[in-house]
Amino acid sequence: MTGLSIKKAGKLYGSVRVLQDINIDIDEGEFLVLVGPSGCGKSTLLNMIAGLEEISEGEISIAGNVVNDLEPSERDIAMVFQSYALYPTMTVAGNISFGLEIRRVPKAERDAAVAKVADLLQIGHLLDRKPSQLSGGQRQRVAMGRALVRDPKLFLFDEPLSNLDAKLRVEMRTEIKKLHKKTGKTIVYVTHDQIEAMTMATRICVLEGGDIQQQGTPDEIYNNPANAFVAGFMGSPPMNLMKARARKSAEGWGLTISHGLESITLPYPRNLPDSYDNRVVTLGMRPEQIVEEYPRDAAEDAYYTTTCTLDLTEPTGADTFGAIDLSGLEAICKLKPGSRADTGDQVELHFEVGAACVFDPESGARLDC
């Protein structure tokens, strides 16, 4: 069964277009993350699904029912907000049961539902408190409790972790993911944090400038980005996007990038459109595709090896990253764990050229196939 289906949806404020031609189809029980930089239209899209913003064009259906003309309360959804949006004058129990009360659920049933949700989220001891007496993490739980208690067809999360500190954010991330596994509900989750998207989603939809740039599983988005925007947005540290000159010869394609005063020509095993011969393209390589240590089980010709000068090293504990000057940019590469290499050292680096992506320098469209 479909969980959520959006067909050709668009949003206009007067004559200003903020969303266009949005098509999304997800199954029941999926965890869809809408991710993008601020102002990309992801929150607007969420509000359109919720019924808090009018749908200017297209059609949205939840669990098979078209909801375009339904009030938020009739759409069988529940929503968690970035600011938690707890009713300040009501207790935690009052906050959680407010929606049920409006739906005239009998008191005994209501209390049972509140108790069940409080148990699930471990907030039973807080039920008589006011929101102002709670910590950020507790408020977050109450906000989720308010959504869970309604047992809706679709959960909407609007950047729910943005107001938490870094440690709590990681904890709640895990918790939301567990909650999703446990309840099996369809979730639409908005965030600007690509790590949240990667870790929680079963399906990611990357938005920018009111358009869907790409949708797919976290794996597809990460390993097979559709364009330079997605490639640069997803991943931390981000993909290195370097200027390279493409040349076709008898042996195949070669991509030349400058390294300080020298230049490196990487033999590119995949095919590019002929029209890009002798033109500048954008070469995208993730830090883990430029490595100091030759992977043990890799084929002998999978990597192109050359010597580079390190500009900087960044030990992060588990990994050590290095910065090298490639095409005038500080490209990030991955050094051996515990590497002793230092600024100015010459290191031998292995480029996994077969995994690299090539984009059009202007449009950002993916060129290799």
């Binding site: 009030e71 938690y84 009713y87």
Partner: protein, 290 residues
């Protein structure tokens, strides 16, 4: 020696500050002192020139007289019936205008409709209309509805005149109300009035207190509307006080006048003492959102 001089120059701003504060406090409290001491003094003591001194013989007779037997116009009723007139006027007028202001502010900020800015500007305009301008049209209107010279008539006038202020107060308070709360309530299935009575109003205590103090003081202290639109049996306190002072039965009973003036000021004083701190807090609220 030099050390002492230094501490003196450092303390100088404080000395200046406190001296001037004391001076102003003295200036403001002086009339109140004169009113109080003379209201508990026999008339002869005042007439013999002892206006500034504490009474030699204490008496509360002037208070009783002002309250229940003094000559107001032609009737020796004291201020008592007019005090109740004022209460009967102030309570409904404050309640209705505050409630309407709250609903207006709520709709103008949370359920915006096309033209809401114009509507608000027009309501804001009511704040700037001088009282004198509306006297004659309002008299015609009250006459037309048969409310001329009655307390309900005064309630209507004060309510209408207050809506501009109360709407302004509530709009400015609600405009800073987090929009996510409204969205959450809508998703929960609450409608316009449910959200208002269950979520907005309970969270509006500071601004309700500000509005009530403002409306209460203004309506209680109003003289012009009272004298223009009321009649002998519906005059509010302020008009009666004026009549008390101006009814000459031979001697001017200053002690009774002072007591009467004090009685007229008591309700607003009480309101300010009990809710004044909210007034300052409420007016400051929103400027520094914590």
């Amino acid at each position: 020696m030099t050390r002492k001089k230094k501490t003196f120059s450092a303390a100088l701003p404080k000395i200046v500050l406190y001296t001037s504060l004391l001076l102003f406090a003295f200036l403001f409290l002086m009339p109140m002192y004169v009113m109080l001491v003379n209201s508990v003094k026999p008339l002869e003591e005042i007439q013999s020139g002892g206006m500034m001194f504490l009474p030699q013989t204490w008496t509360f007779e002037p208070w009783f007289k002002a309250w229940s037997t003094a000559q107001i116009g032609v009737e020796p009723t004291g201020l008592r019936p007019y005090f109740w007139n004022s209460i009967l006027m102030v309570v409904p007028a404050v309640t209705v205008s505050t409630l309407l202001g709250a609903v207006n502010g709520y709709v103008l900020t949370q359920w915006v409709f096309r033209g809401h800015k114009i509507i608000f500007l027009m309501m804001l305009g009511a704040v700037f209309i001088p009282h004198q301008i509306i006297l004659i049209p309002m008299a015609r209107m009250l006459g037309f509805f048969g409310l001329a010279g009655t307390i309900p008539g005064l309630v209507v006038v004060h309510t209408l005149y207050g809506i501009g202020f109360t709407t302004l107060f509530f709009r400015n308070y609600y405009v800073a109300f987090p929009s996510d709360l409204m969205k959450a309530a809508k998703v929960d299935g609450a409608g316009l009035f449910r959200i208002f009575f269950w979520i907005m109003l309970p969270a509006s205590t500071p601004i309700i207190i500000v509005t009530v103090i403002w409306q209460f003081t203004n309506i209680w202290n109003d003289f012009l509307f009272g004298v223009s639109f009321a009649d002998y049996d519906s005059f509010p306190m302020t008009v009666a006080l004026n009549n008390l002072v101006n009814s000459s039965t031979g001697v001017k009973e200053y002690n009774v006048h002072f007591a009467g003036a004090f009685i007229a000021a008591v309700p607003t004083l009480l309101i300010y003492i009990f809710a004044g701190r909210y007034f300052v807090r409420g007016l400051m609220g929103g400027s520094v959102k914590g």
